[in-house]
């Protein structure tokens, strides 16, 4: 599953030889993230975020498990135990702030990881499965983060739980019984808090399992790279260790500096002050907002203010509330179809002039607009802005991407990664004239993905 020139693991001491015969775990690590994994030599810093996301998951599991030693998931005391963590538990403030800001940083890192995928079309064959598993991880992360935010049992926790489970009540016929079933009551209460804690503890380990599948699927074709040209020969790659362990280590250092700034100097900047008021089922905060990382999707939810009706008859086909819910979930489920919506054989945005314009001047501004509108109150001009941005968001993926991939004339691709990096490639000329497969069976996708020079 790796390239033919990948270095082979050789146990050096008798102990390691003995271990390799019984349980070849060091061999697995060596082949996965060691010198035995050849990686394209031209990866830029956008390729750091996978490792950083893995680090964030580890950080959240470690801080979360220790916080669970001091927290009690009971509506009577939950709010109090969070304050107990903040005031009484040794370094409790640090652990809680690291966990709360860790969630935000996890989403920052994952959003950059996803947008790297959008720009460099990392979702295209032969890497569709990596992308699909990634979308699954993202959905699991959203569920985990939502349930974690309910646990402090503050006002935003309570009303967030009310609003998000209220989304399910929009489903025709089964919606309201489904919401009661999810909450274990008619409003968020002890039953809901307890099950959210249980699932919030469980899901990170499910995520870790899917992450293993995600990395496994990645190691079959190997990493993509900024040119989008597949690896052809040994000179296109360097071993993961020490080259990318060093590069990822540098990225981790930068990440930790920024993370420490937030944890130690701005720990509540990304939170909402209303969550320091204990949950009150009889009083709704004037302005309910989810955590910042849900804002774009919350804006899509709120963008639908009118029912879908048959014109002039007044018959409602789909009420506004259900439309909003469908659109919000659809906005993410759409990503599952991305590998088949974008048919262009060229991967990298660098060689796709038209795609690049729509990416930077269409998708990115639309996402920023949705982000701002999702955090703003539901009033003009935010409503109309979020409606326009929502329309563009869906058009971009469902209409623009398929059309662009048909009509676009891509720029000429370099022959190989080596040529892209060094400006020349000593590879034999005959391999250029003939098949685009430069003799690395199993490592290349079908030749159609490499346009003729």
């Amino acid at each position: 599953m790796s390239f033919a020139w990948a270095k082979q693991y050789e146990p050096k001491t008798p102990l390691m030889k003995w271990l390799d015969e019984k349980l070849p775990l060091p061999r697995l690590v060596y082949n996965a993230v060691g010198a035995g994994y050849p990686v394209p030599r031209n990866l830029n810093y956008m390729w750091n975020f996978g490792v950083l996301a893995g680090f964030c998951l580890l950080l959240q599991i470690v801080t979360g498990v220790v916080l669970a030693m001091h927290y009690a998931a009971n509506a009577q005391v939950a709010f109090g135990t969070v304050e107990h963590i903040m005031r009484n538990v040794n370094y409790g403030w640090l652990l809680r702030y690291a966990h709360a800001n860790g969630a935000s940083f996890f989403f920052i890192v994952v959003y950059l990881h996803i947008f790297r995928g959008f720009f460099y079309s990392s979702y295209k064959a032969p890497r569709e499965m990596i992308w699909l598993l990634g979308v699954v991880i993202f959905l699991l992360m959203m569920a985990t983060a939502f349930m974690g935010y309910v646990l402090p049992w503050g006002q935003m926790s309570f009303w967030g739980a009310q609003v998000i489970t209220g989304l399910f009540s929009a489903i025709p016929l089964v919606g309201e019984p489904l919401q009661v079933w999810l909450l274990g009551g008619y409003a968020p209460d002890n039953a809901a808090l307890n099950r959210f804690f249980s699932l919030h503890f469980l899901l990170p380990f499910v995520i870790a399992g899917v992450v293993i599948l995600h990395i496994w699927a990645l190691h079959i074709p190997g990493s993509s790279n900024p040119t989008g040209v597949e690896v052809k020969q040994e000179s296109d790659t360097v071993p993961f260790h020490p080259y990318y362990t060093a590069k990822d280590g540098f990225g981790l250092g930068v990440f930790l500096i920024l993370f420490s700034v937030m944890v130690f100097f701005l720990p509540n900047a990304l939170g909402h002050p209303d969550n320091y008021i204990e949950a009150n089922p009889l009083s709704t905060p004037a302005h309910i907002v989810p955590e910042w990382y849900f804002w774009p999707f919350y804006a899509i939810l709120r963008a639908f203010t009118g029912d879908l009706t048959i014109p002039f008859t007044g018959i409602t086909l789909i009420p506004a509330k259900l439309l909003g819910v469908i659109a919000m979930f659809g906005a993410i489920l759409l990503w599952f179809f991305l590998p088949w919506l974008d048919k262009s054989p060229v991967r990298s945005g660098h060689y796709r002039p038209l795609f690049r314009k729509f990416f930077w001047f269409g998708l990115i501004p639309a996402m920023i607009a949705l982000f701002i509108c999702g955090g703003a109150p539901a009033e003009e001009p935010y409503v109309i802005i979020s409606q326009v941005a929502t329309a563009y968001y869906f058009l971009h993926f469902l209409v623009i991407l398929p059309i662009v991939s048909q009509i676009e004339v891509p720029k000429p691709l370099p022959f190989s990664i080596t040529e892209a990096v060094l400006g020349k490639d000593k590879a034999p000329a005959e391999s250029r004239a003939g098949s685009t497969d430069a003799g690395t069976p199993g490592a290349l996708p079908e030749g159609s993905l490499q346009p003729a020079e």
Binding site: W159, Q162, V163, T165, G166, L167, S169, A170, V180, W181, L182, G184, G185, Y186, A187, D189, A191, R195, P281, L282, S283, T284, A286, H287, I288, R302, F304, T305, D307, P319, A320, K321, L322, G324, A378, E379
Partner: protein, 187 residues
Amino acid sequence: MATDTAVTRDLESQEGVRRRDWIHIAALSTAGVGAASVLIPLISQMAPSADVLAASTTEVDVSAIQPGQAIKAVFRKQPLFVRRLTAKEIEEANAVDVSSLRDPQTLAERTKPGHEDLLVTMGVCTHLGCVPLGAAEGENKGEFGGYFCPCHGSHYDTAARIRKGPAPKNLMVPDYTFTSDTVIRVG
């Protein structure tokens, strides 16, 4: 030995049906029924427990509510609005063309006979479940003089019917009965 082979051959000749197929079907069906019956407790444990269901009736004394005034009570751990309408509010509610409403209902359909001035609704916005404003003194009652949900801007009229904004339904009227002239039992 020879008879066994003959029997096997004979059975297999019947369109490939083998005696072992029956064992497969029986075993898998039994396992399937077993798995399904294990799912029932696993799923139904999530539904409201007995103590939650037991707290599902509430009695409210409505004698002290003055016209134009509303009180908040608690029903199933959710806010309940009980409002004594003024003559003007009743007039406004009855003046509306019912067929023009998103969720067409008359005031009479939303109250009990003989108590048309007493409007009992859940204080839960039908959009996403926020508590609308307008029950307490001095709160924003929205453009139609009833309730206003600040979360996503739903306006309810004096009969707590949805008039403007994203909510799909009128504020829900729970099941209730007058146990005496002054006391209602909700649930």
